[in-house]
Amino acid sequence: MSRELAKASRVRVSELTSSTDLYLGVHIAGPGLTFDISCFGLDAEERLSDDRYFVFFNQPNSPEQSIRLLGAQQGDSESFAVALPHVPDTVHKLALTATIDGDGQMSQVASGYVRIVADGTEVGRYSFTGTEFSTERAVMLADVYRRAGEWRFAAVGQGFDGGLQALLENFGGEALEEDAPVAAIPAQSPAPDATLVAVPAQPTEPVPVGVRVSLTKYTELPESPGWVQQNDNLVRATLTKGQDVLALQGSMVAYQGKADFAYEASGMLRKLVGNLTGQPLKLMRVSGEGQVFLADEACDLHLVKLEGDSFCVGSDRLLAFDANLEYEVRRIEGEGLPNGGYFTLQLSGHGTLVVKTNGIPVLLPVTPVPETFVDIQALVAWSKGAQVITTAPVRIRRSSYAGHTAQSHSLQFRGAPGNFVVVQPFEV
């Protein structure tokens, strides 16, 4: 069964399994930390001579598919499939590494392991915890390397200062726009316990442990003007004088600075939408100087930036928009539509609007052939150039349930190429 491998231990792969198709699972987790796990295919000089053998989230496969990134599987935060016989002869070592994305250090790692799975069973495992590390921001986890004509596995567990970039540079990879030659690093012996870079014992600030660390990934994004998507469910508007925002009443969850919320009389607009749909559009005007967070019942939010063009949004799918955008009510009439018509707001001008959806929406291109049909209850928005045609209501009779009939209204869209409709996976 699974063999426990201690740090710095080395073992022949053939001792673990007769298979040459390996699955390498990496698990590493710590409160508030996100990790990038990559596999470097290094040559005899321990260099990344070929960038295509840097397998990570942006490049999930090596050219001949011998090293493949499989993503999170079976409790592993990241996993790789390695077909050893197909690894080219120029690649002498596969180095598995993990780097912290964002702030943090390796001592905060709660638990982690690298495991080798062959033919569906785990044959080897190297476990580690954050106590083995200190302020490093990267760690070399394990190596699969060639020695005397056969493949071996080494549990490395060696911390490394600096992030992914430093690691990349260490391996002689090209860091972004870094034209200075990488300082010569003495060629490593394949012994994995050789210290790769002396970690200078530099005094650092005390590690903040506790709630702050647990919440790191939810901290506010850095300040910037205009609209910012804080996360899937939250947007932030930075207010300046003369740049008001209109938002649904009650959509403010928090603000910093000076913000004022005032009833917005939308006049004819409100009356029209209200009278005809029974659901008046209740807006408030947010003004002042500060940062306002808007959300609505944890709906997914999407920022749409208009630059002189127009956009149609279902009147109940709009969360907020810049007050300088022009808006008008459009009514789609059709036989059998609920309440005699469907109301949308058409916004145009230069500015941003926020659309809310329940779930991740799909953006369908509008094409003349084949036609695009959308259930009116799932419709969120569409580009102005798309033409709407109502179609006869589709009646669905579910005869298996007595007395149960359902009626669905589809809208057909037509338009020039480049137009689109936004549909949510939720029928309001």
């Binding site: 699955y23 987790a29 709660a110 919440l215 901290t219 939250l234 928090a254 009833y263």
Partner: protein, 230 residues
């Protein structure tokens, strides 16, 4: 060879992670608590969705319950004390779960957002001073202090705001937790005009000032359908 990897596809990818962490996330909505013989955990009644290992629960003792009894806006929300050796899975109607590690810190948590806490932590019910009446909902909070883990729920991905930068105003319905020691006060944004039925929908906020932070959820839904009641 392919089949070996495909076996991990589909539902197989949702197997629980093998972690030794006291409280960890499984997905965003499930909290996994590793219960060991030494460390009991309090969990909101009804929050358990599954457990494995040798676990048993009991209602917490009367005195403790009295202290915590009315922690969430006057509702009785009994706690269960889980002990044994195994893994406990907790969830609250699909709300996001945040597992927080307290390092000799104090946190004030809106009672209805508290999912579980280490039995070693101290907790007390507090009334948000001077504001509870105005908020209407009655802001009872559970103050948790000490060193250990606590799990809170948030409807949607929350944001953490630093009150040291600027005074932070939060809609009481969107408030999840805050570090204690902050100066809390109410702010009414109601205007005279609001009194004649033309409100902005933002009648009152809580203002936080000082060194610390608040956790805010992107939802103001306080409807009972989205909460576990014991």
């Amino acid at each position: 060879m392919q089949a070996q990897f495909l076996a991990g596809g589909g539902l197989g990818t949702h197997r629980p992670a093998d972690t030794a962490a006291r409280m960890s996330n499984h997905g965003k909505a499930i909290c996994r608590v590793a219960v060991t013989a030494q460390t009991d955990v309090y969990a909101k009644a009804g929050a358990m969705v599954a457990y494995d290992g040798f676990l048993q629960y009991e209602a917490v003792s009367q005195t403790f319950r009295r202290a915590l009894g009315e922690w969430a806006s006057g509702e009785r929300s009994p706690l269960l004390r889980w002990s044994g050796d195994g893994a406990l899975y907790l969830a609250d109607m699909g709300a996001d779960v945040l597992n927080l590690h307290l390092d000799n810190e104090k946190l004030s948590i809106n009672g209805s957002h508290l999912l579980a806490l280490d039995a070693t932590l101290e907790c007390a019910v507090e009334k948000v001073k001077g504001v509870a009446m105005m908020a209407g909902t009655g802001l009872y909070n559970v103050q948790v202090s000490g060193t250990g883990w606590v799990s809170v729920t948030s409807r949607g991905v929350p944001v953490v705001l630093n009150c040291a930068e600027a005074e932070t105003y939060v809609d009481p319905d969107a408030l999840v937790a805050w570090t204690t020691g902050l100066e809390v006060r109410a702010r009414r944004s109601m205007k005279l005009g609001s009194l004649v039925g033309r409100g902005s929908g933002e009648a009152m906020q809580l203002g936080f000032k000082g060194t610390g932070f608040v956790v805010v959820q992107p939802s103001e839904d306080t409807a009972d359908r989205l909460k576990i009641r014991g």
